[in-house]
């Protein structure tokens, strides 16, 4: 880690530029400026608000994904686990349980799934790609079985309406979901940069052998990482169920790709050892800004994929060329 990468120039400017997240932040800001010139509505309070609500869940998942990437693995199951936790919350609540209790139960089940993933990857030594793909299918499959391919609604009740507040109300004008996301991101960024537990993940991702030689329990740490990714995905799922009041069989579909992209854009490496929460969060913001712009500019849906793909590549190209930081998988 180490915040400073030999900042050649000193002074405040040099220090700012030496931040790992500087590049992606710059690209995002340029995008935001460009878009808001074309469409002033982009910076309207409503639009910012809805965009933030929309990215909060991916942002929360990105925190865990960054850790997984730092450890040298990744987690393709997060989207499905998000769906599973949303679905379980609704199912348990539908059984008559207090919805808060239902949510905690759903969280526990998902943590259990993370424990399984972590055990398979960390302790047994299975390949993260196949394992998390398998877990993805299992979790999504469970959602299909539970929802029978449709969507389930939260029942009515006093507890339900307080639960829905979690997903639908605001504090000081900021939606609670967004507040939770910001707290988690700030806390996550702080902990990843400062805590010795997170440091172990960096050691393992950088050189697992060296880490083991120094007495770090790599198996346990890796196991923990997947428990964290699952927990955060589950939190995202619970917030989604509170927000929508329903769980669909699609909740969270495709999130994993968005989130991995965001983390990599934010400076994480697929070979481990590198990555910051702040970077990943800015990456999530960048991707959301792009898709928001496509809607605001009323781009034909059939063109959207083409354009967002091109922007994605241009963004990392710009990043590379202007800052000469090498993206290497």
């Amino acid at each position: 880690m180490g915040k400073m990468q030999q900042s050649a120039k000193n002074g405040i400017l040099g220090k700012i530029r030496s931040f790992k997240e500087f590049n992606v932040l710059m690209v995002t800001i340029i995008l935001i400026i460009g878009i808001s010139i074309k469409s002033p509505i982009f910076l309207s309070a409503t639009n910012i608000r809805t965009t933030l609500i929309g990215l909060a869940c991916n942002g929360i998942i990105a925190i865990g994904m960054t850790l997984a990437l730092v450890s040298g693995g990744f987690d393709l199951s997060v989207g499905a686990i998000m769906g599973l936790s949303a679905c379980l919350t609704v199912v348990f609540a539908g059984m008559g349980l207090n919805v808060w209790f239902a949510a905690i139960l759903a969280l526990i089940v998902c943590i259990g799934v993370g424990l399984l993933t972590g055990t398979l990857i960390g302790r047994v030594g299975l390949n993260p790609f196949i394992t998390t793909l398998g877990i993805q299918q299992i979790a999504r499959g469970a959602v299909f079985v539970l929802t029978a391919g449709s969507s389930l609604s939260l029942p009515a009740g006093a507890d339900i309406s307080s639960f829905k507040k979690l997903g639908q109300s605001s504090i000081l004008g900021i939606p609670i979901i967004v507040v939770i996301f910001i707290i988690m991101a700030v806390l996550g960024d702080f902990l990843v940069k400062k805590s010795s537990a997170a440091m172990k993940v960096f050691y393992i991702g950088s050189n697992e052998k060296a880490a083991i030689l120094s007495g770090i329990n790599a198996k346990k740490v890796k196991q923990m990482v997947y428990i964290i990714t699952a927990t955060l995905a589950a939190v995202a799922g619970i917030l989604t169920s509170a927000r929508f009041g329903v769980a669909t069989s699609n909740t969270g579909a495709g999130s994993e790709m968005t989130v991995i992209s965001a983390a990599v854009i934010g400076g994480a490496s697929l070979t481990g050892g590198k990555g910051t929460i702040l970077g990943a969060v800015v990456g999530v913001i960048m991707l959301s800004v792009i898709s928001n712009a496509l809607v605001l500019f009323n781009v034909d849906v059939n063109w959207q994929s083409l354009i967002s793909g091109a922007i994605l590549i241009l963004a990392i190209l710009f990043d590379l060329l202007s800052h000469k930081r090498k993206y290497k998988a």
């Binding site: 880690m1 180490g2 030999q6 400062k194 805590s195 010795s196 050189n207 052998k209 880490a211 120094s214």
Partner: protein, 500 residues
């Protein structure tokens, strides 16, 4: 007396893949003693110390620390018991800072949070005696090999152990850094710590160690008081036969007119500036200077591995255009990297595949590979420079460090080059094989191949080269020839420049 033994092993045995690597080794290390462990490449030195420090588990035999029988399941058990090891191969986490590497697993914390200020202060303190320019908050990836080696050593020193084991700590350090390390080791010896020291550099052995143990082919040969023996005896004890001369005769056939290589005006600021020199037929040229003087950088630029701002290369009088390393190879110029792990080896691939890498073109017909040709080549070199391996289909990682280096060298020699630039060619190679390699280099040079040696080992430069060019901080600062090539003269040239 018994009380004075801090660490001992009894009848340690170990096999890898059915091959017995240690055949019952017993050694004793005293408190406050520097004890050398010497032997040819593949003799089992690293395996022994890896067993002592819990990296491997012995098949048979016991380890005693302070007279108490030990059983380590993993390295941290050994660490906790007070055994520190400086690994032969670097084991650093390259993405994190120096401080975070030195105190890996033992970061100073307050309430679960890392106290980086304190960490960097502590690191500063550990690094102090090395008088290096390494900063505690630098990312390890950005350090040179030598600097990384220092970090590795600092890591072990900071453990405050009862026993510290150094496995070839100086193989990538230059003379002055090595000297600093010697001083540090003598210091910690005074604290009553037992030190096990592995090195192929006999001068170091005779300078600092109290006793030495010789291993050969996994067998314990003897333990001697360093003071009461000499290098001839030690060498023959290691090799099992008499070795007469460490360095071959100097060249008698230098042809001043025939220039194999002429390098003109190589510049890439700030690393190096206006470097021009010549390699003549029949001579071995030495390129010397302190660490960071830019020797490696210049050589890599000449070979097209890294781009340079300007500079021209003439081979046998004609200008050649070298844009990438493949161009250099096509022209018969090859380069041996100083960092074999990073730039040289395919550790997860077989020996044969490692050997094949630069000669793909020569050994394929219709684009298909002929592995048999390479197998034969390997067998040749196995004999010539005594490479120790079981089968060519062995994974590179399983070879001892010195044997890996030997394969690196064979790989280049098999290309029949016109010019060969060797950056630290005998790093980690045992004395016996060193003489073989030196003899081979002399043979090549006599046969008209241009040979350039970069070495941090002054005796090697002095012993092998017919002419040396000296670099300092990216500048060419002088040239010495024949009898004038002495350690003192080289140092003088360097410091002369520094006075400006």
């Amino acid at each position: 007396m018994e009380n004075n033994i801090i660490l001992s092993t009894e009848n340690i045995q170990k096999s890898f893949l059915g091959t017995k690597v240690l055949k019952g080794v017993s050694i004793e290390l005293k408190r406050g003693e520097i004890h050398a462990l010497i032997g040819e490449n593949g003799a089992g030195k690293s395996t022994l110390v890896n067993i002592i420090s819990g990296v491997h588990q012995p098949d048979d035999g016991d380890i005693f620390l302070d007279g108490i029988k030990q059983e380590y399941k993993n390295p941290s058990d050994a660490q906790k018991a007070g055994i520190g090891l400086v690994h032969q191969e670097l084991a650093l986490c390259s993405h994190v800072t120096v401080g975070e590497n030195v105190f890996i697993g033992r970061l100073p914390e307050t309430g679960g949070l890392i106290d980086r200020k304190k960490l960097y202060e502590m690191t500063e303190k550990v690094l102090e005696p090395f008088e290096s320019s390494i900063k505690p908050d630098q990312i390890v990836e950005e350090l040179s090999v030598a600097q990384q080696q220092i970090v590795e050593i600092a890591k072990a020193l900071s453990l405050n152990c009862k026993v510290i084991i150094f496995d070839e700590p100086t193989s990538s350090l230059n003379e002055s850094e090595a000297q600093k390390l010697m001083n540090i080791i003598e210091d910690i010896k005074k604290q009553g710590i037992g030190i096990l020291y592995i090195s192929h550099k006999l001068s170091e052995i005779f300078q600092i160690t109290d006793r030495l143990t010789v291993l050969r082919d996994g067998n314990f040969i003897e333990t001697l008081d360093t003071g009461s023996t000499n290098s001839d005896h030690v060498i023959s004890s290691m090799v099992g036969k008499q070795v007469k001369k460490l360095y071959p005769n100097k060249s008698t056939c230098v042809n001043e007119k025939e220039e194999i290589l002429h390098v003109e005006g190589f510049t890439r600021l700030p690393e190096f500036k206006d470097i021009s020199f010549t390699v003549r037929k029949g001579e071995i040229l030495g390129l010397c200077g302190l660490v960071g003087s830019g020797r490696t950088e210049v050589s890599r630029a000449i070979c097209g591995i890294d781009k340079s701002k300007s500079g021209e290369v003439y081979l046998n009088g004609t200008k050649v255009s070298i844009k990438c390393y493949a161009d250099a190879l096509n022209n018969g110029i090859c380069y041996l990297s100083e960092d074999r792990k990073k730039d040289g080896l395919f550790v997860a691939m077989t020996l044969l595949e490692n050997m094949m890498a630069p000669e793909l073109k020569n050994i394929s017909r219709f684009g298909l590979l002929n592995r048999r040709m390479v197998t034969k080549q390997m067998a040749d070199y196995k004999q010539k420079i005594n490479i120790k391996y079981v089968t060519v289909n062995q994974i590179m990682n399983n070879l001892s460090g010195g044997n890996q280096q030997k394969i690196m060298i064979s790989k280049l020699l098999a290309l029949n080059p016109k010019l060969i630039i060797m950056d630290e060619p005998t790093r980690g190679i045992d004395v016996g094989a060193k003489t073989e390699i030196h003899a081979m280099l002399r043979e090549l040079s006599e046969a008209g191949v241009g040979v350039v040696i970069i070495s941090s080992e002054m005796p090697e430069i002095v012993g092998m080269c017919d002419r040396v060019v000296i670099m300092n901080v990216g500048n060419l600062v002088g040239e010495l020839k024949g009898e004038d090539i002495t350690q003192e003269n080289i140092i003088a040239k360097i410091s002369e420049f520094c006075e400006y």
